[in-house]
């Protein structure tokens, strides 16, 4: 199962990944159309800085996901095979319980759409948009086992 990892020494904090993420999740999929969409597509990844270093933050799809336990609408499930927390938007009521309990603050409320946003690893594509967009290759898309060694 592939996951997103980050080489912090390479991250410039340029936020290209944020823009690519928002565009990839917009209706049109194109930057100049996306910025005019009625409900603005928001990035599911945020780059934050601390002590001179930059850290892209997005859902880690925890194996013991607090958000799934907290979801009062049963809109979240943890799919073991995919290693992902899946979000059923048709069940979600926008109560923000998941936002409240995420230990990484990696779930963002889209208040206008009443939907919490999280990284879905660009599910239909072979490679997440942020990986493609990173100019310094600071975002690494690879199998879980290789990194944990």
């Amino acid at each position: 199962m592939k996951n997103l990892y980050y080489d912090i020494d390479k991250c410039l904090g340029c936020k290209s990944c944020e823009i690519a993420c928002a565009v990839a999740h917009s209706v049109s999929g194109e930057l100049f159309k996306a910025i005019k969409e009625e409900i603005l597509s928001l990035p599911r990844k945020k780059v934050l800085s601390s002590k001179g270093k930059n850290y892209p933050i997005s859902c880690r799809h925890c194996k013991d996901p607090k958000c799934v336990d907290a979801c009062m609408a049963a809109a979240l499930i943890y799919d073991k095979e995919k290693g992902m927390v899946l979000h059923d938007e048709t069940r979600c009521v926008g109560c923000w319980m998941c936002v409240m309990v995420c230990p990484y603050a990696a779930i963002r409320p889209n208040l206008k759409a009443k939907i919490p946003l999280r990284c879905d690893k660009c599910k239909d594509k072979d490679e997440p948009a942020c990986v493609k967009a990173c100019p310094t290759k600071a975002i690494i898309w690879q199998e879980e086992e290789i990194v944990s060694k």
């Binding site: 912090i8 934050l48 800085s49 270093k53 607090k66 336990d69 936002v99 230990p103 990696a106």
Partner: protein, 420 residues
């Protein structure tokens, strides 16, 4: 092969069942509920009443959940007594069932004020799917409704009625809404939002009488004022359902006392969810935290322990997230400190115009509570600072900053290798 009995078929009960089944596929599991429905998302009943969630989306699990997990489900059955010495429970029809381990997840019931006429037709609690279905049946003939109580349940009920175009008045005893989870400045922002959207709140008043012959016609307030209405919803708090353990070896206070393993004072009997009184991390004492995420967490740990594990529960804390007319609000732990209480410190920012409010409460540099209105990002980080008891002295002044986030605490917590 063992026999597990679970009394209660909601958040705690279901997560208990799922936890047991991760360890033990063979033993018999019996789930008993006094309701007539498969497990449903209780917190969604207000959305159901508002017409925003249909019945098929309110079920907590797929219909075949019980069959797939090999669970015997008794609906519409009430347990009247537990006999710990005989390891058995007695049902209403006097039949009994034996258990090896038992979970009490009986939940809680609405508290009704002790006033004349409170039992009249048209007065409802707001707790079950049955409640909302009966309320819904009355909506075609209801013009005005009164909601007693300005807590979360009262406001959610009022919001739903408002969505259904019922003129709704909320009657609140205290000077603010949500007095159990928000301080005054936060409540003021919520109140403004409610009134902008046409919901009327009457403060400093309690209902003193429900008027009508049989069916309700009006509510009389303490001031003597009478409000005509044909529907009343009571949201004046809840009480844990613990009658079935009264006069037994199981120790109770407001709820059933549980230890760090969710065990009651009888070792093979566990309690979880709204009926349980567990250790509260921020209060440093036992209390009932009747909240969905806590019920799920407790049910899960109780289930694992019933199946032979020995897992310690971190403890509970009061926390809630809500949303009214697009305004998000989160409250965590201690939300209000009495003036001059030693060791406490409040950090806050407010912008009433933009409806933004952020407050962190610290005690000796440890976060013990937070209130967030309008912008709730970082709520999970604050929750974590509370739960993991992280000393904030090195980054305290940045807690409220726009750029504060996970990287600031990364070195202080157990970090998996996502950053290389």
């Amino acid at each position: 092969m063992k026999q597990f009995i679970i009394i209660g078929n909601s958040a705690a009960g279901i997560s208990c069942v799922e936890a047991i089944r991760t360890k033990d596929k063979a033993s018999k599991i019996i789930v008993i509920s006094d309701e007539d429905y498969l497990a449903y998302c209780r917190c969604l009943i207000s959305y159901y009443l508002a017409g925003e969630v249909k019945e098929d989306k309110i079920l907590l699990r797929q219909k075949d959940f019980y069959r797939e997990n090999n669970i015997e489900l008794f609906l519409n059955k009430r347990v009247i007594q537990i006999q710990p010495k005989k390891n058995r429970i007695i049902l209403e029809d006097k039949t009994f069932l034996n258990y090896d381990a038992l979970l009490i997840a009986t939940g809680a019931s609405p508290k009704f004020p002790d006033i004349a006429g409170i039992k009249k037709r048209g007065v409802f609690g707001f707790r079950t799917l049955k409640d909302v279905k009966e309320i819904e049946d009355l909506l075609p003939v209801t013009k005005t409704a009164c909601v007693l109580g300005g807590g979360l349940i009262g406001l959610k009920a009022a919001y739903a009625l408002h969505k259904r175009k019922i003129e709704t008045k909320i009657i609140v005893k205290s000077k603010q809404v949500l007095s159990q989870m928000l301080d005054e400045p936060a409540a003021k922002i919520v109140q403004d939002k409610l009134s902008e959207n046409g919901l009327e709140v009457i403060f400093g008043q309690d209902a003193s009488e429900v008027i009508g012959n049989g069916d309700l016609k009006a509510i009389k307030l303490e001031s003597g004022k009478v409000i005509g209405c044909s529907l009343v919803i009571v949201g004046k708090g809840i009480k844990p359902n613990i009658d079935l353990v009264k006069d037994s070896e199981i120790k109770i206070n407001e709820g059933i006392i549980v230890n760090d393993f969710l065990r009651t004072t009888v070792p093979n009997i566990y309690a979880a969810g709204d009926c349980a009184e567990s250790f509260d991390l921020t209060l440093g004492a036992h209390t009932v935290n009747a909240l969905w995420p806590i019920a799920v967490e407790q049910g899960k740990i109780a289930g694992l322990n019933m199946a032979g594990e020995n897992i310690k529960y971190d403890g509970s804390l009061g926390m809630n997230s809500l949303e009214f007319f697009g305004l998000p609000v989160v409250s965590l732990g201690i939300y209000k400190v009495k003036a001059q209480e030693a060791g406490y410190e409040e950090l806050k920012t407010i912008d009433e115009k933009l409806k933004l409010y952020k407050k962190i409460i610290l005690k000796n540099n440890f976060v013990v509570g937070a209130v967030l209105v309008g912008n709730i990002k970082n709520a999970g980080i604050f929750l974590r600072l509370i739960k993991e008891r992280i000393d904030t002295s090195s980054f305290k002044e940045r807690l409220l900053s726009e750029n504060f986030g996970y990287p600031e605490i990364m070195d202080l917590v157990k970090e998996e290798k996502f950053y290389v």
